[in-house]
Amino acid sequence: MKIYFDGCSWTWGAELENREDRFSKLIADHYNAEECNYSECCSSNNRIVRRLLDTDISSYDKVFIQMTLPSRTEYYDGEVWKQVNLGVYAPKKSIFAGRDIRNVERRRFMKGKKMTDLFSIKSETGEETWGYSYNKDWKDYYRYVYTPELGETYEKMFANIIRSYCGSKLVLTTIGNIGINLDKSKYPRMPDGHPTKEAHRMIYEDIH
């Protein structure tokens, strides 16, 4: 039995000491299945869908997809794909850690304070750059082009793509707006906002 997992840092197990404690491993162990976890920190929904649709899903018995913040996106720089991520959970730089991510993001946009101060670009090689103004084009994207309407409409589109592609094999979770919400206060958090070891076990118990 094989189980497909994808998502962002929440599914990857960020801030855990031991990756064996992440919920995907607990679920795989529960079913005595092979854990195929393709998640990446800073991932966008775009990447999650792009990777899924390039996969023959019939070779997996179950699919657990965790959607992420709708504001994230990606681009191809000529050599590798890169994830563009607003700095909600910037390590030790964010005042938002531990709070409801969706509301923080949405509220800031509604106030007209577009989140251009801090964001990161991460390549699939793992290299991550945090910055304030090093990349004018992406900073301007969030300042002038991106809107919650765009992000949330595409979030719906990606969710429907995932549902149609996976059918009954799918368990859809999220830290955004669509799916089983993992951004609940009942799940204890690490300092940078990711689920603790205990929270991973609680998530496993809730969704397996």
């Binding site: 792009r50 002038y144 809107t147």
Partner: protein
């Protein structure tokens, strides 16, 4: 029978004297005695076409779908001033809000591999969505396999397009793509379908022939 139809200017019937009467979707639906639901728009992007079928409409309400995909470099954004989505065309990012950003996007960020990858991603998404809803689909494209002509007939095709062409090493008039014939069910930009000058769009005769071939495909699908 209700037929869901979407695409760009080729499906909308651009350049025809009476688009809504002369376009292939209308001819086809008249032949089949079907109801035509044509949601196409000029300059539409694949993003819009995918969003339409996945978010805006319930495909389960239709008996058949014909979706024509378009140039992959096009995209869209939410225009807060007009409170609606607006399409962006790589050859014509001039008369839109944030035009400077979009010019830079095509000059500095967009890569053909991105466009080709997302084209196939959206094609797979549309196919699986129709399959999941048991709606037969004909997935078409206006692109040509391999060497592709780029039509320059719009007064706005200017600096931005020149930069884009230079970046990708296109000669004005043509560039190559990595599409395979098997990626689509129907190639609309086939030499057998007559077009207006510069292959800009299907002409009246082109729409009639496309409708005839689509009718044949639909009847075959229904028979099988």
């Amino acid at each position: 029978m209700k037929i869901y139809i979407d695409g760009c200017s080729w499906t909308w019937g651009a350049e025809l004297e009476k688009p809504r009467k002369q376009r292939f979707s209308r001819i086809l639906c008249d032949k089949l005695g079907a109801e035509e639901y044509n949601y196409s728009r000029c300059i539409a992007s694949n993003n819009r076409i995918a969003r339409n079928i996945l978010v805006n409409h319930n495909i389960a309400d239709y008996d058949f779908a014909i979706v024509q995909m378009t140039y992959p470099a096009r995209t869209e954004f939410w225009n807060q001033e007009d409170d609606k989505f607006q399409d962006v065309n790589e050859m014509n990012p001039g008369p839109i809000v944030n035009a400077d950003w979009w010019k830079d996007y095509y000059r500095l960020i967009y890569e053909e591999e991105f466009g080709d990858t997302y084209e196939l991603m959206f094609a797979t998404a549309i196919r699986s969505h129709c399959k999941a809803n048991n709606v037969p689909l004909i997935l078409a494209t206006r692109r040509r396999i391999g060497k592709e002509e780029v039509v320059i007939s719009d007064p706005y095709y200017s600096v931005a397009f020149a930069d884009t062409a230079k970046k990708f090493g296109w000669k004005f008039g043509s560039h190559c793509n990595s599409m395979k014939e098997s990626d689509f069910d129907f190639l609309m930009q086939d030499d057998k379908y007559p077009t207006f000058t510069n292959r800009s769009h299907l002409n009246e005769e082109g729409h009639i022939r496309v409708a005839e071939d689509l009718e044949r495909m639909i009847l075959n699908r229904i028979d099988t």
